[in-house]
């Protein structure tokens, strides 16, 4: 028999090793992709990719809309759900709100009585429409117990129909100057500012509030969450409502920026938003992921888009490469995080 000194079973290492945050690996992927374009840029185009203010602006600008949606979608995915309706909800909120944002000089006014309203009225309408759609999603999922995939797929199809039906498919334009500022204010940085504020707020919500902790708990183990006293139904409804609300906000930013609303808007945005979240390390099986990761994921998508145009990559190849990069980004992330996913 070998002898052993008895050690106390609990040994919290006094100096807890500070681990690198999970997002670190995906941040490296982002830098890697950017550096790749920078180097290729010098070789192929003779220009700096990043050393160009207007390009940096457009990189962030073009992911702002997807990014705002992705923040909401991230919460939904953390609960173990999915939201396929975001793109269509964008279109629906956009169409409805746009009819409240027109100015009197526009030739094609939808509600002649409701022109030149202050900017926050269409904004509120857009948010409300988005939140309502989210509420329906959440309600269906919790009350009828259908899978989120189906509830939001149904909403995806229906909301697109509503968007088309609302103005018979015609686009709505001619917004008041004040409303258009939502997408063009602050020297055109408004969408970026809105995106970053939304991301910061929800970063805090997810990490430091009870609401956030409950969201993770539900995704990690709904049954255990219920026994721990969490009201899953009402919490999920809130989460889907927030996702809808943020889709509505994204819609407002998008239409204010492009100054028109169209029923075909937001097509496939849901996939881009989900991709941003998953590239950013959010686990589709729930319980894992962070807003910072999603923001980085969205930036990766933005850098790719700009980088392709910058290098004059053919549109055909763009898609082929984009698909590959999505895969590679996630592969690299998984392998850097390594240990955690070792289980069968």
């Amino acid at each position: 028999m070998t002898t052993h000194t008895a050690t106390a079973p609990v040994a919290p290492t006094p100096a807890q090793k500070k681990r690198l945050p999970q997002e670190f690996s995906i941040l490296l992927v982002l830098f890697g992709i950017a550096a790749f374009f920078e180097v290729l840029g010098w070789f192929l185009v003779g220009q700096s990719f990043l050393g160009n203010m207007s390009r940096l602006q457009i990189i962030i600008l073009q992911v702002s809309v997807i990014g705002i949606i992705a923040v909401g979608v991230t919460q939904v995915i953390i609960t173990g759900g999915i939201d396929l309706s975001s793109g269509s909800v964008v279109a629906m909120s956009a169409m409805v709100a746009a009819t409240f944002a027109q100015d009197a000089n526009w030739p094609k006014i939808i509600h002649p009585a409701l022109v030149d309203l202050p900017w926050f009225i269409p904004l509120m309408v857009g948010l409300a429409v988005g939140a309502a759609a989210g509420f329906v999603n959440g309600w269906l999922i919790t009350k009828t117990r259908i899978p989120p995939f189906i509830a939001t797929l149904g909403m995806m199809v229906s909301a697109r129909g509503v968007a088309r039906w609302y103005t018979d498919g015609s686009p709505v334009s001619g917004f008041t100057e004040s409303f258009a500022m939502l997408g063009n204010g602050m020297g055109r940085w408004a969408p970026v500012v809105i995106f970053l504020v939304v991301a910061a707020v929800f970063h805090i919500v997810m990490r430091y509030t009870r609401f956030g902790k409950f969201t993770y708990a539900i995704g990690a183990n709904p049954q255990a969450a219920r026994v721990s006293g969490i009201n899953i139904e009402s919490h999920l409804i809130k989460v889907y409502m927030i996702a809808g609300l943020l889709a509505g906000l994204a819609a407002m930013v998008a239409i204010a920026r492009i100054k028109t609303a169209q029923a075909g808007m937001g097509l496939m945005y849901e996939l881009d938003a989900i991709a941003a979240a998953v590239i950013g390390g959010v686990s589709l099986s729930g319980g894992r992921g962070r807003i910072t990761g999603t923001v980085i994921g969205a930036l990766i998508l933005g850098v790719m888009l700009s980088g392709f145009t910058f290098l004059r990559v053919d549109a055909y190849y763009q898609d082929i490469i984009k698909g590959a990069i999505i895969v590679v980004a996630v592969v690299v992330d998984i392998h850097r995080q390594g240990k955690r996913s070792k289980k069968t």
Partner: protein, 289 residues
């Protein structure tokens, strides 16, 4: 000298007509040593705005836009004007066509002619009298709306007042949907003498469905628009009776030419029309390449 760099933003690649326009543009640009960077907005207006801003950031010499949403063109025009880059809209008429800045232009065929040419020929073939079904394109699309309006305008003229529209639905520009829609019409017992489709794809779908139910192709007049190779083959086979040639390559070429002129500071007409041409069994061979 450095070749001119032109950024081209196409609304959607998956469209046969726009593919012809795009390839026509590319071929012509290669001939005259202009470098094109072509982007696909996938029918999403936000994507397109991003692409245009990316072009501006990359410092192209000119931009050609086939707009996804013709209402969204104001901010595109503003952006390009602010950067001092010439801009040409092609094929789809921007909402601000009458107030374009000086270094911007519009190249297209006049949609008022397409549906008109098509319907007048149908009217002639039917002797001014008969029942018509109409297959519309995607309803959010200006061309679908205009072409359908043209049909009704022609029917409103005294010569064609004997025509009557018995059914009118969308088949979303697609052959499959056209075929399914036609089958559904037939099984619903709707009778008609002519099919007027907003494009050739839907017309071909209608032909396939009609043939399946055994209706002879002489007993019905089929009209499309675009003169795609498939439609021309169908004319040769005696299936389609009328189509309208929209000069896709011509529009592409015209857009490039206009862009070059704008870069060189030449004075130009801001609306450049490329004419539509009626295609019938009598002249279709001219369009087969």
């Amino acid at each position: 000298a450095e070749p001119l760099k032109v950024g081209v933003a196409i609304s959607v690649f998956d469209d046969n007509f726009l593919t012809a326009l795009r390839t026509g543009m590319q071929t012509y640009a290669d001939d005259i040593n202009v470098e094109l960077q072509v982007e696909d907005a996938k029918a999403e207006v936000g994507n397109q705005l991003n692409q245009i801003q990316n072009f501006i950031a990359s410092g192209v010499d000119a931009i050609i836009v086939n707009p996804v949403d013709t209402d969204a063109t104001i901010s595109m025009s503003d952006d390009a004007a602010a950067a001092g880059i010439p801009l040409v809209y092609v094929n789809r008429q921007p909402i601000n066509v009458d107030m374009l800045p000086d270094n911007q232009a519009f190249v297209a065929s006049n949609e008022e002619d397409s549906g008109t040419l098509q319907t007048q020929e149908v009217c002639r073939l039917l002797g001014g009298k008969g029942k018509v079904v109409v297959m519309m394109g995607e309803l959010s699309n200006q061309a679908a709306i205009q072409r359908t309006k043209d049909i009704h305008d022609v029917i409103a003229t005294p010569e064609c007042a004997g025509l009557e529209v018995v059914a009118e639905q969308t088949a979303k520009w697609s052959r499959t949907e056209g075929s399914d829609l036609m089958t559904n019409w037939i099984s619903a017992g709707i009778e008609f003498d002519a099919v007027i489709a907003n494009n050739d794809e839907m017309a071909i779908g209608a032909v396939q469905a009609l043939k399946a139910t055994g209706r002879t192709m002489d007993s019905v007049v089929i009209a499309g628009i675009d003169a795609t190779p498939d439609a021309l083959a169908a004319i040769r086979a005696g299936e389609i009776d009328v189509t309208v040639f929209q000069d896709a390559a011509g529009q592409g070429k015209g857009a490039v030419d206009t862009a070059i002129k704008l870069v060189n500071g030449e004075k130009i007409e801001q609306k450049v029309w490329v004419p539509f041409e009626l295609v019938t069994p009598a002249n279709f061979e001219k369009y087969m390449r």
